[in-house]
């Protein structure tokens, strides 16, 4: 009944709006005439209101111009939700209780998919990265994740600025190399030459850095190195007694390195000045004659009487800061200034050398322990091959790890004279080095 009257009233109102008088309308609805007669006069009052005047044309045009000006301004940017609005929409749409009805399903699905993918990717990334780091820290040279371990060590070295801390770090890393060799040997694996090279590098760097320390701290640094050498020597003796035949040669070579380093340390403790003299590159002019030094490719000077294994091992002492795989900077023009000490190779990377590196796919050639015969060193400024020969962790991509950048960030330690130790772990090649010494 009520619904019916609603329709009747509406029909009567429409006729009233068309201009029909109430007296004409009512007879057509005899059953509802009484109610209509009560209501239609009310709506007649509403319909009889005078028309509303439009604002004057000037005001209209002014409002219109303002509207279009605002439109022009907004149209300068894309007509789409702003980042916050879109984000808010996504968030609202993602909330199951939001009841948001206006968000397109397509966008909702897309955002859900993106969030899910991003979350999964991050989870995988962090778990893999974290897991890899943890795993790598305990890895051995024959492990696929060993390069990660070496890279992490290089980062540590690159971040050390205090010489005493650097001595400690190199000492600890030398001990770690020895532990790796011991574990490999006990598992009947032969430690590779790269491991020996790294051991040599850390021992020599620790000694050189210790030699640069002030007298009051040098002794402590040397005692630290000595303690490590004694501990590892005893352990190495036990391991050699248990290890099979195959790795005995490498272990013996490592022990010899330790023994020679121990002798250098003992001598340094007795005569610090001699140690400093032997390990200082910017000696004064009145300094006594130097031991015979063999110029090496790329400005590497190798004291022939230093730590050695079964045969003298030339210890590289980088005189320049070039730590990158691209050492094409002319000598004397590097960031550390023009001063250089010691022999200078005439041509970048033209030193004696190397033999074919076993590391692949680097392009640099360098003297490898297994291939000491001098050979060509072509294009020594690039690639991953270095004078230490094969590096199992070298990717040969020419970029290397810390210090492998073109900026010449130092690799490993740098002594007070600007001397820099070449890290066999990196892609540094035996190329010419820019200036040697920043120390006036």
């Amino acid at each position: 009944m009520t619904q019916h009257f609603n329709d009747t009233l509406d029909a009567a109102l429409e006729r009233q709006r068309q201009g029909e008088p109430t007296a004409v309308i009512l007879p057509d609805y005899p059953d509802q005439a009484e109610d209509l007669a009560r209501l239609l006069p009310v709506t007649a009052v509403l319909a009889d209101l005078p028309p509303i005047p439009q604002p004057n044309p000037a005001a209209f045009q002014a409002d219109r111009a303002a509207f279009l000006a605002e439109a022009d301004q907004l149209l300068k940017t894309a007509v789409s939700p702003g980042p916050l609005a879109r984000l808010n929409g996504w968030i609202v749409a993602a909330l199951p209780w939001s009841g948001h009805q206006n968000t397109r399903q397509k966008e909702k699905h897309m955002m859900s998919s993106l969030i899910l993918k991003a979350a999964v990717a991050l989870a995988v990334l962090f778990s893999v990265a974290g897991g890899t780091a943890v795993t790598a820290a305990d890895s051995l040279p024959n492990s696929p994740v060993y390069p990660v371990k070496i890279a992490m060590e290089d980062v540590q070295l690159a971040m050390v600025s205090n010489p005493e801390t650097a001595v400690t770090l190199h000492t600890n890393l030398a001990a770690e190399r020895l532990r790796e060799m011991e574990r490999l040997a006990l598992a009947d694996n032969v430690p590779d030459d790269a491991s020996l090279s790294r051991l040599q590098y850390h021992l020599e760097a620790a000694l050189d850095l210790a030699a640069q320390l002030p007298e009051q701290t040098m002794a402590g640094a040397l005692l630290q190195i000595q303690a490590m050498i004694q501990t590892r020597t005893r352990t190495m003796e036990q391991v050699q007694a248990q290890a099979p035949e195959a790795p005995q040669g490498a272990l013996t070579q490592a022990r010899t390195m330790l023994q020679n380093a121990g002798e250098v340390v003992a001598a340094g403790l007795q005569d610090p000045q001699t140690l400093r003299w032997r390990h200082t590159t910017n000696r004064p002019d009145e300094a006594p004659p130097q031991p015979e030094m063999t110029p090496q490719p790329g400005g590497v000077i190798s004291p022939t009487v230093t730590i050695s294994g079964t045969q003298p091992i030339t210890t590289p002492v980088r005189l320049g800061p070039c730590a990158s795989g691209d050492c094409g900077v002319p000598q004397g023009e590097g960031p550390f200034g023009p001063e250089r000490n010691g022999p200078q190779p005439e041509e970048p990377g033209s030193g004696p050398g190397p033999g074919e590196p076993l590391a692949t796919p680097g392009t640099g050639n360098g003297p490898g322990p297994n291939n000491p015969t001098p050979g060509d060193c072509q294009g020594c400024g690039n690639g991953s091959g270095n004078q230490y020969g094969p590096q199992p962790d070298d990717a040969g991509n020419g970029s290397g790890m810390p210090g492998g950048s073109e900026s010449g960030i130092p690799i490993g330690g740098q002594n007070q004279n600007g001397a820099q130790y070449q890290n066999p772990n990196t892609n540094v090649t035996t190329s010419s080095l820019p200036g040697g010494n920043s120390n006036p």
């Binding site: 619904q3 509303i52 219109r64 509207f67 605002e70 439109a71 907004l74 149209l75 940017t77």
Partner: protein, 184 residues
């Protein structure tokens, strides 16, 4: 007509300036009248109408504007704008003034009658619910059809008719004494 406006709307959403101008020219006058009936003064009506079209542009820019039924969307925004206006002024109900609709050309007797009726209508409408007020305003001030009102208030046409009936009945109860006085 709806199709035409829908096409305009789609062009406007793509940033077509001419489409935006056409929409403004088509809808500014009725929106202005709709607002004018319910607020106190021409300037206020202009300001609120401008606010309606500002909201329209912002909605297009943010991608939250209408996909169709542009007219319904604009009236709904206009209604909300008026409500906000009175809320800011802490008015319990809007539609405070209808006096301004009295034409200056009417004769004094007619002016007095209309003024009295309008004043009573205003008081009576303040007794309506917001939905009833909106339906009456859209029906008698904006001149929209039941179908158009249904789109704006988001209710079925039957519900609009029911609201209309109850609103007019309420107004009649309020206005009956005045009508009797006018008759006497």
């Amino acid at each position: 007509m709806t199709t035409d406006y829908d096409a305009l709307l789609q062009q406007a959403k793509r940033g077509n300036r001419q489409a935006l101008a056409a929409i403004y020219d088509a809808f500014q006058p009725p929106i202005y009248r709709y607002v004018y009936r319910q607020v106190d003064g021409e300037e206020t009506a202009r300001d609120l109408t401008a606010d309606v079209f500002h909201r329209f542009l912002q909605a297009l820019h943010q991608g939250t504007g209408p996909d169709n039924y542009l007219q319904a969307w604009l009236y709904r925004v206009a209604h909300n704008t008026i409500v906000d206006h009175y809320r800011r002024q802490q008015h319990r109900n809007h539609l405070p003034l209808l006096e301004q609709v009295i034409s200056a050309d009417d004769d004094p007797v007619r002016q007095a009658e209309t003024s009295l009726a309008v004043a009573q209508v205003r008081q009576s409408m303040q007794q309506l619910t917001p939905d009833q007020q909106q339906v009456i305003a859209l029906k008698f001030f904006a001149g929209l059809s039941n179908q158009e009102i249904a789109l704006i208030v988001a209710k079925p046409v039957g519900a609009v008719k029911a609201l209309q009936h109850r609103a007019i009945a309420a107004l009649q109860r309020q206005l009956a004494p005045v009508q009797e006085e006018l008759i006497l």
